[in-house]
Symmetry: C2
Subunit: 368 residues, 2 copies
C-alpha cells in the first residue's frame, strides 16, 4: 500500500488514522457481527456513533447550548434552496454577499424560489471584476438591509482562493454562513452565527452528508408547512434521525472528529494550518518573479492556495512533475486554470514542506 | 471476526463479498494512492466506478434506452416531494395508491406542497382497515383518473409485509413506483414504468443514495424553474454529477451490483427469494396454530415477512432466543409489534433454513 500527497479540492484527503480505523472494523463493528453500515439507524450501536459525532463537534467548536447540530443530505447545494424556503417568507428579503462562484450559486438558487412564492434576494456586495474574485469585501462596502431576514456569506472560496479573515458584522440580522471549504480549520465564535453549514467532503468526511450548526431561535422561526425533509425544525426535533440518515458517512465524520480531538483539537489544527499557509505563501512571495499569487494578501485563503506560473506550458509541466514527486490534485479549477493547492486539515506541514521544496527546484530548473 | 444473521429492515445486511472488496481497497483504491472516497468526483478513477454502477444496473434490469439511471440524495423521503414539484403542475392532479405507511407518507408529503403552489393529490385506493394494511388492492378497486399527471404506487410495504405481485395497469398515465424495499429482488418490465425510485439501504447498498430509473419522456416533461438539486432534468443531463454525489455510497452500490452479476443476475436472485419465501411461509402455514401470518396470501411480501406468536411474552422470548441462535433484527416495527423477518437479497437460503429450524424448535419448547 502506498499513499500519495492528496491536494484535491473536494472530495479531499482524509486523515489516515480515521481511514484505518474504518478499515479495521469494516466487516464487524465492535462485537456486533456486522458492519456499521448494516446497523439499523434506530439501534443502539449506530445511535452511539451518531451522538458521539454530535458531542465531538460541540466539544471541538465549543458550541453553546443556544445552538444545535444537524446532519442533512443533498450537499451544500440543497441548503442553497432549503435556507430561503425556511427563512425567507413572501414579501421579505435576504442579503447575499457575493465573493465567488459558490456564493453566486447560493444567490441564484435562492432567486429561483420566487417561482414557489418565496421572498426576494438582494446582493449586499460583490467583489467580482471580469468574472474573477481576488478579494473579500470590507465591512464598509456591504449594503446591509436592517430589515433583511438573514445575511448569507461564504467563508472560503475554493475556486478563487479567498477567505474571510474576520466575519462581517450583520447587526441584529441573522448571519448564515456556508463554511463548506474551511469548516473546522480554525476557531470560531459560534454565537455570532445563526447558522453555519458545510458539506463534509473537505475537512470532515466523505461526500453525502452536510453538517449544520443552527441557533434554536432560527430553527423555531422557520416555516412549518414544508415537506418534512426540507424543514429544519423536523430534522432538529428528531436528532437528525427523522428519516434514515447517511449512517456510514456520519460514522466517518465521527472518526475524523475523534482524530482531531486526539491531535489537540481546533487550536492545534489552526496552528498547523497557519504554519502551512506561512510556508506556502512565503515561498510564493519569495519567488514572486516566477509564481504569481493573484489574491490580495488580506484575503488569502489558508485552505485553497492559487497561483500561476509564467505560462500554461510550464503549468502543465508543473502538474506532471508534481505527480512524479507523489503530489496530485493540484490543477486549478477548469473555470480559472493555473495551480490550486487545497491544504485541508488532512494535509500535513510536512506535505507542504515537500511541495515548497519541489517549487524551488522546479523554478530553478524551468526558466520561463 | 464473526458475522450474525442480519434480518434488519433497513439499513440492512449487505453481501459479504461486496464488503470485503471495499475493506481490502479501503486505504488505497487500485494503485491510486488514496481511498475511493478521497478521489475527486470529476476524476477518472471515480468516474469509472460511477459509470460501472450505472452500466451494471442497466444490464441487470435490462433497462431500455428510453430510460435513464440517476443517483440522488435525501432518501426516498426527499423524492416524495421532488416528484410532485417536478411533475404536478398547478391545476392538475395525481393519483396515489395507499397500501401502507410509506405510501401514506408519500401522499401526505405531496399534499403539503399545495403551500408552494403545486397541484392536487387524490387517493386512488386504500386498503387501510383499523390503521392496518393486510392486502394489496385489486385493479378493479383503483379509481384512476385518466387525466392524472401520474399514478404513484409503493411496490412493497416493509412494515405490514405486503407486496404487489403484479403491478396495476395505469393506462396512458405515467406510473411512478417507490421500490425502496424490493428493488432488484425480482425481474421487472422497466418499460411499464415512467419512474422507479429506491433508497439504497435495503437491497442495493448503504443509506445515503437513492437510485432513480426514469423515462426520458417523463424527465423532459418536468418543471425547469426549480432549484437545480430538485430538478430531474439537471441531474440527468449531468450524469448525476452536477453537484458532488455521495461517492462512497455509489461505490458500494457498484460492489453490490457486481456481486449480483457474479451470482447469476436477477433471475438467480429472484429464484433464491422465491425459495426463501416458500420455506418461511411454508413453516408459518404448517404451524398456523402457533404462528399467525396476518397478510392475505396473494399479497404476501418476499422481502418482509411478518407474523405474531400466541402472546407478547412469547414474542419477546422469541427475539431473545433468536439472538442466542445468532439471528438479529427480527422485532416488528414499533407501530405494529410482533415479528418481522426482512429477507433482502443478502439473506441466504441457508439463513432462512436456520430460522425455520429455530421456529420449529421454539414452538415445540414454548407452548402458549
Amino acid at each position: 500500500m502506498s499513499r500519495v500527497i492528496n491536494f484535491n479540492a473536494g472530495p479531499a484527503g482524509l486523515p489516515l488514522p480515521a481511514l484505518e480505523r474504518a478499515r479495521d472494523e469494516f466487516i464487524e463493528f465492535g462485537k456486533s457481527g456486522m458492519s456499521i453500515m448494516e446497523h439499523s439507524h434506530r439501534g443502539k450501536d449506530y445511535e452511539a456513533v451518531h451522538n458521539e459525532a454530535i458531542a465531538l463537534l460541540k466539544e471541538l467548536l465549543a458550541i453553546p447550548d443556544t445552538h444545535e447540530v444537524l446532519f442533512m443530505q443533498g450537499g451544500a447545494h440543497l441548503q442553497f434552496c432549503t435556507i430561503p424556503m425556511n427563512f425567507l417568507p413572501p414579501g421579505k428579503s435576504a442579503d447575499y454577499v457575493i465573493t465567488g462562484n459558490w456564493a453566486n450559486v447560493a444567490y441564484s438558487e435562492a432567486k429561483k424560489l420566487a417561482a414557489l412564492g418565496i421572498g426576494k434576494v438582494n446582493v449586499a456586495a460583490t467583489t467580482e471584476v471580469d468574472k474573477k474574485f481576488t478579494r473579500i469585501p470590507k465591512q464598509s462596502e456591504l449594503k446591509l438591509d436592517p430589515n433583511a431576514t438573514y445575511v448569507h456569506t461564504t467563508s472560503n472560496n475554493t475556486i478563487f482562493g479567498t477567505q474571510f479573515q474576520t466575519f462581517p458584522d450583520t447587526g441584529k440580522v441573522p448571519h448564515i454562513c456556508d463554511m463548506s471549504s474551511d469548516f473546522l480549520s480554525r476557531k470560531l465564535d459560534i454565537s455570532k452565527f445563526a447558522m453555519i453549514y458545510a458539506g463534509a467532503q473537505k475537512n470532515i468526511g466523505p461526500s453525502g452528508v452536510v453538517v449544520c450548526i443552527m441557533s434554536k431561535a432560527l430553527i423555531a422561526s422557520g416555516r412549518k408547512d414544508l415537506p418534512k425533509t426540507l424543514t429544519y425544525s423536523v430534522v432538529a426535533e428528531n436528532n437528525s434521525l427523522f428519516n434514515t440518515p447517511p449512517t456510514f458517512a456520519i460514522y466517518m465524520v465521527r472518526n475524523v472528529l475523534d482524530w482531531m480531538k486526539k491531535s489537540g483539537g481546533i487550536a492545534q489544527i489552526q496552528k498547523w494550518n497557519e504554519e502551512k499557509g506561512a510556508l506556502l505563501y512565503g515561498t510564493l512571495d519569495r519567488m514572486a518573479d516566477y509564481y504569481k499569487a493573484p489574491v490580495e494578501k488580506e484575503s488569502r485563503s489558508l485552505m485553497n492556495i492559487v497561483f500561476r506560473l509564467p505560462n500554461e506550458g510550464l503549468e502543465e509541466k508543473f502538474v506532471a512533475d508534481a505527480k512524479k514527486a507523489n503530489m496530485v490534485g493540484i490543477k486549478g479549477h477548469r473555470s480559472v486554470g493555473g495551480i490550486r493547492i487545497s491544504a485541508y486539515n488532512a494535509v500535513s506541514v510536512a506535505d507542504i514542506k515537500h511541495l515548497c521544496g519541489f517549487m524551488e527546484k522546479f523554478a530553478a530548473e524551468n526558466k520561463a
